[in-house]
Each structure stands twice: as C-alpha cells, then as structure tokens.
C-alpha cells in the first residue's frame, strides 16, 4: 500500500513529507437552549499528501462536526475556534468569504453520506456540474464544459453521454455517489478530499466499488483524504492512519495496523471486540456496558471511565488524561495507562 504508512504518522513526529493539512486546537460548540455545548474539544489532525486518515467514532463523538469545522461549513450560532487550520501552507481562518469559497471545492472538497440530498432535485446533473466548473475551472471556456464533465464522469465509471440533462432521481444511489465524487474532484488544484461516511447508505457491492474508486483517485492524483466513518471495517480497508474520537475528544491516534493489532486506548480495544466476526464462532458477543456521556456532562476524570474494562482506579475518576505520546512513531492515546507503563489488557470478562 502507501509508503507513508509506516514511518512517523502524526503532527509531532518529524514528517519526511510536509503535511498538506494541519489542524491544531480545534474547538467547536453548538448552542443548546441558549448555552454553548462543546461538540469537539482539543482536536488536532495532520494529513500528508496521498495519505488516507480515518476519523472514527460512534454517533455524537464529534467526528462529522470536526470535518465540517475544518471546511468552514458551520455558521453561527455554532462557534469554531482553532489555533490553526493550515491547508498547503495557508491558514484558512484569515481568508475572505470569496477566497474561502474558492478553497472549498477548489483545493479542499467534501463528499457526503447521502448522495440524494446532496444534489438539488430540481436541477439537471449537467447544470449543477457546470456551476462547479464555472467557479473552480478558470482554465476552461464555457463551451468546453460539457466535454470536461463527460471526461470526469468517465473517470468515476459513468457514461455521461446524453445524461447531462437528466435529473438526480434518474440515477441510482451508487451512481449519484460517484457523480458527487466526480464533482468534488473537478478542480485541478484539489489537494484534500473530506469524506463524511461516503458509503454508509450504500449496499455492500456498491460500497466496494466506491471505496475502490477512492483508492484509485488517491493513486492517480496523490489526493489526501480524511475519511469519517463509524465502520471499523471500512477503516481497515482504506486508511493509513486512524484518529479515534469519543465524546468530542480524540482518544487515540495510530497507524492502522498498530490500531487493529495493539490498540492503546481501552475504548478502541472494546470497540474492536464488539464487532462480530464473520463467519462467527458462536461465542457470545462482547457488549460494552453503558452509553456515551452527553456533550454537556460535567466529567472531572476520563470520559470513558464508567465504561472502561481496564480502569486503573480513582485517578480515572478525578483526572482527565492528556493525549500522551505512545512510542516514537507519532502515535498517541488519552489514557493514564500509557504513562504508568501498564499494558492495555485484552478484555476477558464478557459483560452484557
């Protein structure tokens, strides 16, 4: 696979290749009944060209919010604060509205979970595509648009001849998802593709096709990707590096092979254990007890302490762990066990 997987993988490791996207100190709050509720806290991310970084977590973990904050898609009353959001050496926070619009879809674009709602149902595919070209492809003249659209569609496996006047409902979900990818990748300056659960609403055989397409795009254009998903199988299939989120914070950052073989945070370990294997061995499924705490919960210690099968003791209830470095390859984990040098035990007891 990619050559960028094995050597240092995170912000703090000395990168051999400069990162194309760097985010530090990101904090996003939503307003709930007049009070700000933090959805994402102390978030950071580093992505190198050609690298696919997975952003994993369950619902409410803040993974989609983090992605939308990076692209500048959130509007007040949502509040986004960050130390830096640097794309290819330029901090996006200082851009004018006009410049920001050129970056979105130009150098960094996003694809969404639901392809049907991502298109305007009353406009033809061709007209929606042309608008994107008008904004992000100054190299083309107006009459060259259609030929370019057909070329881009061919790149995602769709024969666009005679279909540019079709409406979104005339395509299947899998086709629309591929068209959305073609639209997102229309710009020649594209450096980073943000994908928010791009295959969650698709059937398995179509999912396999879309994942294959994303891999091809990475190989052909050297695109960097941030892939938000709740599905650890998709992470295993696609990613070089993984960021695990829990209740609005990062709990672990690791190379994908290390994450699946030696998870450092108990949440990651328990999450991996909760996935049923295929074929199944007939053993009872491991189930995590309890539920994710609310965003507004006042928690002094570790946010995962109540559900943790590897809890150390009172320190977990009283002191929130930092995101400590693990080893010297840039991996990190927010668990007191990392600094106490205790291994994360493989969980034996099966709880219900």
């Amino acid at each position: 696979m990619s050559t960028t997987t094995t050597d240092g993988a995170t912000a703090d490791a000395a990168p051999a290749v400069p990162e194309v996207l760097r985010v530090t100190g990101l904090q996003t709050s939503y307003q709930f009944r007049g009070t700000p509720v933090p959805a994402v806290q102390e978030f950071s991310l580093s992505v190198r060209p050609g690298e696919i970084v997975g952003l994993v977590g369950e619902s409410g973990s803040g993974k989609s919010t983090a992605l939308k904050s990076i692209l500048g898609m959130l509007r007040p009353p949502a509040e986004v604060v960050a130390d830096e959001i640097v794309l290819d050496g330029r901090d996006l926070r200082g851009l004018s509205a006009d410049e920001a619009r050129r970056v979105r879809g130009g150098e960094m674009s996003m694809i969404f979970q639901d392809p049907i709602n991502s298109f305007n149902p009353a406009w033809t595919i061709g007209s929606q595509f042309r608008r994107v070209l008008a904004l992000h492809r100054p190299d083309l003249r107006r009459k060259e648009y259609d030929a370019e659209i057909i070329r881009l569609l061919r790149g995602v496996g769709i024969d666009g001849n005679g279909k540019l006047d079709s409406y979104p409902f005339q395509f299947s979900q899998g086709q629309l998802q591929r068209i959305m990818i073609a639209v997102a990748c229309a710009s020649k300056d594209l450096k980073v593709l943000l994908a928010d659960e791009p295959t969650t609403s698709l059937d398995v055989t179509i999912e396999a096709q879309v994942l294959d397409l994303l891999r091809t795009l990475r190989a052909e254009r050297g695109l960097a990707m941030v892939l938000v998903t709740h599905d650890l199988s998709v992470v295993a299939e696609m990613c070089d590096k993984v960021v695990v989120m829990y209740a609005g914070r990062i709990v672990e950052v690791a190379d994908v092979f290390d994450l699946f073989e030696r998870p450092q945070h108990p949440y990651t370990a328990q999450l991996l254990r909760a996935i049923p294997g295929f074929p199944h061995d007939g053993e009872r499924l491991y189930a995590m007890r309890g539920a994710v705490p609310g965003l507004d919960a006042q928690i002094r210690g570790c946010r995962f302490a109540d559900r943790c099968d590897a809890k150390l003791g009172s320190i977990c209830d009283t002191q929130a762990p930092d995101l400590y470095p693990v080893g010297d390859q840039g991996a990190r984990a927010a668990c007191h066990r990392v600094v106490t040098d205790l291994p994360t035990p493989t969980v034996q007891e099966t709880s219900r």
Partner: protein
C-alpha cells in the same frame, strides 16, 4: 408449481410461491390502456421456517427481503401464493381473524424512533398490543409492561419516560418488548440493529438471542450485515431481485457458498482487519430495477459465470453439491439423497 415438502408438516411458518407485486407510475390513462408498470418486489418465494429456528434473510436494497417479511405478516397484501402458520392458511384469513392471528406473529422494526408514537409514554407503547387485543384490564397490562421491561433489561422506572428521553438502543429494546407483549411464537425482525452504534448493537443482538432461547421463539431476521447474521442464524436465505437465489444452513453457506451472487456478496464485505484488504476485483454493476428485470437469470448481467442458457431461462432453485440449494445454471446440481435434510425449497 411447488410440490408439498416433507417438512411442511412440522414447519411453524410455510411460505409457498409467495408473490407481492406493486403497480407503479402512470395515471388513470396508463391504467386504462393496460400500460401500468409492475414492481416485482417479491416474485415467487418458497421457504419453511422450523420451530425455534432463526432464518436470516440477506440481500441488498431492492432484493425484496423486507417485502418478504411484511408479506408473511400480511402487513403487505401478497399478490399470490400462500403463507401458513402451524398449518393454518394466513393468506385467506378475514380481517378480524387476521387481527387475532397477529397475537402469534409480531414484528420488530429497523428504526426505533419512527416505529413509535413520540407522544406516548413507554408504558403506553409497550402495552398497546395488549389493549388492541383486549388482553386484561389496565392494572394487569401495566404489570405486564413492567415484566416486559425487565425481560429486555430495562429498569421499570422507564415506564413513564417518553421516547426522546431514552437512547436509540434503549428504544429498540422497547420495540422488542412491544413485539413480545402478546406472547408471540414468531417474530420478524427487520434490520433491528442497522441504526445502532457498534457498542450498542452487540447488546441488542445478545438480547435477541437470549430471548429466542428463553421464550422458544422462531425468528425471521432480515439484515444486510453478514457478521450479525452469522451470529444469530440457523438457516440463511440470500435474495436477489425478489427471489431466493441460495438457501441452506449457515455453515453450508459460509463454508461453501455456491451461487456467484452469494460469493460476490461475501467477498465485497469489508473485513475489520487491515491485513485482509481486498486484492481481488470488486463485483461489477448494480442491482437492476425490479420493474425492468433482465430476461432469463436476473443476475446474468453481473455474473462472471454467465452462459448462453442464462439469457433465456431462469434457473431452478435446486440442491447443489454442498447440501444447500441454489438457483444457478453454472453450478452443477447434486442428486437429492433419500430423506434430504435441506430446506424443502422448490422452483421459484
């Protein structure tokens, strides 16, 4: 047509050549001209579900798996064919008889939030089937609700909460409690864990398996998630465009899948292990529309094994070498041994 199967007498639910077609598009004019189009959502399914067993039905969207579950319970009216429950024909029951029959056969839905009335407290949601069927008085229904909550692992003080006050996993437990209220023997669960997070999914799956053992339930479990099916199923049926293309025991299908579609489905599913990344090409194309289906075998346009005969003749579902049944011309069939143990399936 179907021949009476040897197991039909002992089966709890027997489905014979069940078809459910939906008319689509076109106004009165198209109807008058006979040009109305038909969606063959379910197109001739024959299957037996044995008492205390779980039949899992897998397939992609549009394969007819949900329509099959709903047609068996007559939440959708089948176009033709029959369903019998303990030998009693359900398809011909009158409305009133069907209502009574539903005490014995219930459904758990995919999305817990959209399958309950959000203005009702959980106690009303759980006891509604009892009220509908006129079981007991208010006090006994309430006592039964507490019992049901405990059965699905929830605290009795949940009774007075509203749906928005509990989590998705908890509300799905409420959905299961409601389905169990009248003490049914047969439960159709349509993707009951698809909308739940990984950590909660395992809890609900364990609960379903426990309840099945404790209460001796017979289950039809509809899912697209192969790992979840592998955990709970005794038999598995694979559907494609309204028909069963392969059916057998879980072990038969998992160790030696015969139909090329089953193999593609198993191969396409991503595995939770980066060392098992896909190296082989992914399956081509998409599921064709159930309105305009390919002639002959419906899987032919995507099939790597397609032959000439596949263009003209839909293959019969017949027994293959490993013991399960599959509908494929390209896979050699095996002679049926005396006293065959496979599910008594016949031509589609």
């Amino acid at each position: 047509m179907s021949t009476p199967a040897p197991d039909a007498a002992t089966a709890l639910v027997s489905v014979r050549d069940l078809k459910t077609h939906f008319p689509v598009g076109g106004g009165l004019l198209a109807k008058a001209r006979g040009k109305q189009q038909i969606v063959h959502a379910l197109d001739g399914v024959t299957v037996d579900i044995m008492p205390r067993e779980t039949l899992a039905v897998i397939g992609e969207s549009g394969s007819g798996k949900s329509t099959m579950g709903r047609s068996i319970l007559r939440l959708e009216e089948p176009t033709s064919g029959s369903v019998s429950f303990r030998g009693k024909d359900v398809t011909s029951l009158s409305r009133e008889d069907l209502r009574r029959q539903r005490q014995h056969m219930q459904m758990v839905f995919q999305n817990p939030y959209s399958s309950v009335n959000r203005r009702n407290r959980l106690v009303d949601i759980i006891s509604e089937p009892l009220r509908v069927h006129g079981v007991g008085d208010a006090a006994s229904r309430r006592a039964r609700s507490v019992e049901l909550l405990e059965l699905v692992g929830l605290n009795p003080d949940f009774l007075h909460r509203y749906p928005h006050e509990v989590s998705g996993g908890q509300l799905q437990r409420v959905g299961i409690a409601r389905a169990l209220a009248t003490g049914p023997e047969f439960l159709v669960a349509d993707e009951p864990t698809a909308s739940l997070d990984v950590s909660v999914r395992a809890q609900v799956m364990n609960l379903l398996k426990d309840l099945k053992e404790e209460l001796g339930l017979t289950l039809m479990f509809i899912s697209h998630d192969l790992a979840v099916v592998s955990y709970i199923a005794d038999h598995v049926a694979v559907m494609y465009l309204g028909r069963i293309v392969e059916v057998g025991t879980r072990q038969q299908l998992e160790s030696e899948p015969q139909h090329p579609y089953t193999r593609a489905l198993f191969a396409a599913a991503p595995k939770p292990d980066p060392r098992q990344r896909k190296t082989e090409p992914v399956p081509l194309g998409e599921v064709p529309s159930a309105i305009d289906r390919p002639a002959g075998c419906h899987y032919r346009p995507r099939c790597p094994l397609a032959m000439d005969i596949c263009e003209v003749e839909y293959p019969r579902l017949e027994q293959k070498a490993h013991g399960q049944q599959a509908a494929c011309h390209a896979v050699p069939s095996a002679p049926l041994p005396a006293g065959a143990t496979a599910l008594p399936l016949t031509t589609a």
